[in-house]
């Protein structure tokens, strides 16, 4: 298993958000986390990265990472594309990408990955010397995904990559995510409001309600599940 969560509780201060999340995903797979606003999807991702106080068990490649610091978790190969994209707005596009590879020591491979990322997103190459804050929303989302890729991660956590993007841009982005998964074997855990798109991309998924996993299964089964269809696919 690439990632395993067992009975994960988490919250902010006195507010409990997660009440025992159980979830697992395999190497090279794509998983979707579905759920309404406030269900705890983002908090689940933050718990994996050690950004909130958690109880329970979080294993990455078999190793318990719950007590590790965020920066050490990143160095293990988990790249988080956070809610709001986490762009370094006052740095240039290329500086953002170089920061993505900050923890890596293999310079030739970093240079190759930079080429590869520019290959996926030629727009970023055109804007490499531009301040990241001046990029459009779509370009910033591409930059956030690219910055995560520069870590050469085993697992990417994507928090609403489609948020605020035009449908065409979303389609392009998801296409590239699929390519990245197929070419580089990067596992992906995807949080999405856009359940139809997410289940299209993912191999498997689970539905979170008020901090608990209420349903999980293959993407195909979830798409056909009546409750999921009514609540999240809207038909």
């Amino acid at each position: 298993m690439l990632l395993e969560l067992k009975g994960v509780h988490a919250g902010y201060g006195a507010t409990r958000v997660l009440h025992g999340i159980d979830f697992a995903m395999g190497e090279r797979s794509i998983s979707a986390l579905l759920g309404a606003n406030g269900a705890g999807k983002t908090t689940t991702l933050r718990a994996i990265c050690g950004m909130v106080r958690t109880q329970g068990e979080i294993r990455f490649g078999g190793e318990d990472i719950r007590h590790r610091k965020t920066e050490d978790i990143a160095r293990l190969g988990i790249a988080h594309v956070p809610d709001g994209r986490g762009t370094f707005l006052h740095l240039t596009t290329e500086e953002n990408l170089r920061l993505g590879a900050y923890a890596r020591k293999d310079k030739p491979a970093v240079a190759r990955d930079l080429e590869r990322v520019y290959g996926y997103f030629p727009r970023l190459y055109e804007r490499r010397r531009q301040q990241a804050g001046t990029l459009s929303g779509g370009e910033q989302q591409m930059l956030a995904v690219s910055r995560a890729l520069m870590l050469a991660p085993k697992l990417m956590l994507l928090d609403e990559p489609s948020f605020g993007l035009a449908p065409l841009v979303v389609r392009e982005l998801f296409g590239i995510l699929r390519t990245i998964n197929a070419e580089a074997g990067v596992g992906m855990l995807l949080v999405e409001q856009n359940a139809a798109m997410a289940l299209e991309l993912a191999d498997q998924g689970c539905v979170i309600e008020t901090g608990r996993v209420v349903l999980s299964g293959s993407a195909k089964d979830l798409k056909q599940d009546d409750a999921v269809r009514r609540s999240y696919l809207g038909y």
Binding site: C49, M51, K69, T70, E71, D72, A74, R75, A79, H80, P82, G86, T87, F88, L89, H90, L91, E95, R98, L99, G100, Y102, A103, R147, L151
Partner: protein, 289 residues
């Protein structure tokens, strides 16, 4: 005219020193949004270390570089030991810690070295250069300032560590997500600021002489410089430093007299805060509510 030129050049020399210390203030401010009131006393204390080393027979430049290294380590240690525990404390608590550091360094220095004013040597030769306009120490101080600025620029602009420090100051959360150890970046920032401060101290000491209160005035000018430039802008702080140095000298010599020189800094501080609180090169922070 001659006299004016002389005052402007001398102003640039002290201005460079203010610029260095202002830069140290800005570095800490960018990372923590706090003004380190102890920056001046830290510089003063490390200048005393240089004095001890030189008195023990060490050649000037060896003592200079060793002092810069000691100041760097001291800055890092202070951040790790004293500042880190109050990282999440309310702003006032941290300010109190800064003021405590100021008093501690001031008193400890007085206790070790006494309050008697001491001479501090200049590494530059006696005779003036540029005719009679600029003493060679003043010219040397300008040169040293420019070298420090160039090194800092190169460090922050061209090295991965410098980039990581800028990133950590701007966006700590995203920095952690790419594996940057943000806590250490802060400590490094303190180390660098203390090192820059020690250079400023060693450059100003031959002019104002060495005593535990020597940096009080300098820190005030540095505050004024940082504010003129916009407290979040390193280039502004440098420009502000030179500007304040020249203004102080020219106004002191021709307009208000030497006794009232320090009030120039105060007038600048109040004036900037009233008219343009973000400084002349600073970024205006707009928050949507």
């Amino acid at each position: 005219m001659d006299a004016l030129l002389h005052q402007v050049l001398a102003g640039l020399a002290t201005g460079g020193i203010y610029a260095s210390l202002a830069l140290a203030l800005v570095m800490i401010y960018q990372a923590t949004h706090l003004v380190n009131f102890a920056q001046g006393e830290l510089a003063m204390f490390t200048t005393y270390i240089a004095w001890s080393l030189i008195n023990a027979g060490m050649p000037y430049w060896a003592a200079f570089f060793l002092t810069v290294a000691i100041a760097f380590v001291l800055g890092v240690v202070i951040e790790r030991v004293v500042i880190r525990p109050v990282e999440r404390a309310p702003v006032l608590a941290v300010v109190v810690v800064f003021i405590a550091l100021l008093l501690i360094f001031n008193s400890v220095t007085g206790w070790i070295y006494t309050y008697t004013i001491k001479q501090f040597p200049s590494p530059f030769p006696e005779q003036p250069i540029l005719g009679r306009y600029l003493s060679s120490h003043e010219a040397g101080a300008i040169g040293v300032t420019l070298v420090v600025l160039a090194l800092l620029y190169a460090f922050f602009r061209f090295t991965p560590l410098g980039l990581a420090m800028r990133a950590a100051a701007q966006n700590p959360e995203s920095s952690r997500l790419v594996g940057i150890r943000v806590g250490w970046m802060l400590a490094l920032g303190w180390g660098l600021a203390a090192a820059i401060g020690s250079v400023a101290g060693m450059m100003v000491a031959p002019i104002v002489y060495l005593d535990p209160n020597m940096m009080g005035g300098v820190l005030l000018y540095a505050f004024a410089a940082a504010l003129v430039g916009g407290i979040d802008n390193p280039w502004g702080a440098v420009a502000g430093g030179f500007l304040v140095g020249v203004l102080e000298n020219v106004l002191g010599a021709f307009v208000i007299g030497n006794e009232l020189k320090l009030s120039v800094a105060l007038v600048i501080i109040v004036g900037v805060l009233l008219v343009k609180p973000s400084g002349f090169f600073g970024r205006v922070q707009v928050t949507r509510v």
